[in-house]
């Protein structure tokens, strides 16, 4: 693992307008995620596809940009939308990456 990676700079945003906007986005996102979990069997049946949940509605497709465009067009005010790629196969996942191997 290389040690010369530039450090992350942590900052605090205190602008009340920005905080209110972000809190509203998080609330929308949580509603979208709750909706996903309530419809998990349907949402997660789209294996090998991109999904987007916006306005508590599912958008599915092979091309992420297309899925996002449809979701944003249908729910332009939803700042809590999120995307996922649904893996083709169900299997135990070991996510931990062990760092960068080398530059190519």
């Amino acid at each position: 693992m290389t040690d010369d990676w530039p450090p992350v700079v942590m900052g605090i945003v205190t602008d009340p307008v920005e905080i209110a906007r972000s809190a509203a986005a998080l609330a929308q996102c949580e509603r979208n995620w709750d909706w996903l979990e309530a419809h998990a069997s349907d949402v997660y049946s789209h294996r090998g596809k991109y999904i987007c949940i916006a306005g508590q509605q599912l958008f599915v497709g092979d091309v992420l940009e297309d899925v996002l465009a449809r979701a944003k067009a249908a729910h332009p005010d939803d700042r809590g939308l999120f995307t996922r790629y649904i893996p083709k196969e169900r299997m135990p996942r070991i996510y931990a990456n062990r760092g960068i191997v080398e530059a190519m």
Binding site: I12, W33, R79, L81, Y85, I86, M91, Y95, A96, V101
Partner: protein, 149 residues
């Protein structure tokens, strides 16, 4: 400082520790991205769908990363990951992050130790707790009965 996450249901029926963060693409719009709290990850890695939604120009070329499944291609991007504190203020993590280029590499972005090392990380399934604790907050381990479910 306390940044709260939660256990989220994934496609395989497994609950995983996740923190929701806000991302800002180049066009100024916003979207949310779930980050897996992965104490084994050396680096934060954005999933391929987040990379594409960000629509930012990678810095340099392909950068291989290694995991249990072998090596995978990634790129490096400059971006900010914003999370919410307990008082609703935002914490911004700006820097250089890896991003997977193949959607099959990661189905969810991973929060790595260049961020989690800034905090005490609590990933407690029996207690239903996922959080990052920083200055002003700490945790205490006590002997006693397990938390009621």
């Amino acid at each position: 400082m306390r940044i709260e996450g939660s256990w989220k249901l994934c496609d395989d029926g497994v609950l995983r520790p996740v923190i929701l963060a806000e991302m800002t693409p180049g066009d100024g719009s916003r979207f949310e991205a779930p980050f897996l709290v992965d104490t084994g990850a050396d680096r934060t890695v954005l999933s391929a769908d987040v990379l594409r939604a960000l629509n930012v120009q990678p810095i340099g070329g392909i950068c291989p990363i290694a995991g249990v499944g072998g090596q995978a291609a990634s790129v490096v991007v400059d971006t900010a990951i914003e999370m919410r504190r307990e008082d609703r203020t935002l914490v911004s993590f700006k820097g250089r992050f890896l991003a997977a280029t193949d959607p099959t590499t990661l189905d969810m972005s991973v929060l790595g130790r260049e961020i989690t090392n800034l905090f005490a990380v609590i990933v407690d399934r029996p207690g239903d707790v996922v959080c990052l604790l920083g200055g002003g907050h700490r945790y205490q381990i006590v002997q006693g009965p397990p938390p009621s479910s």
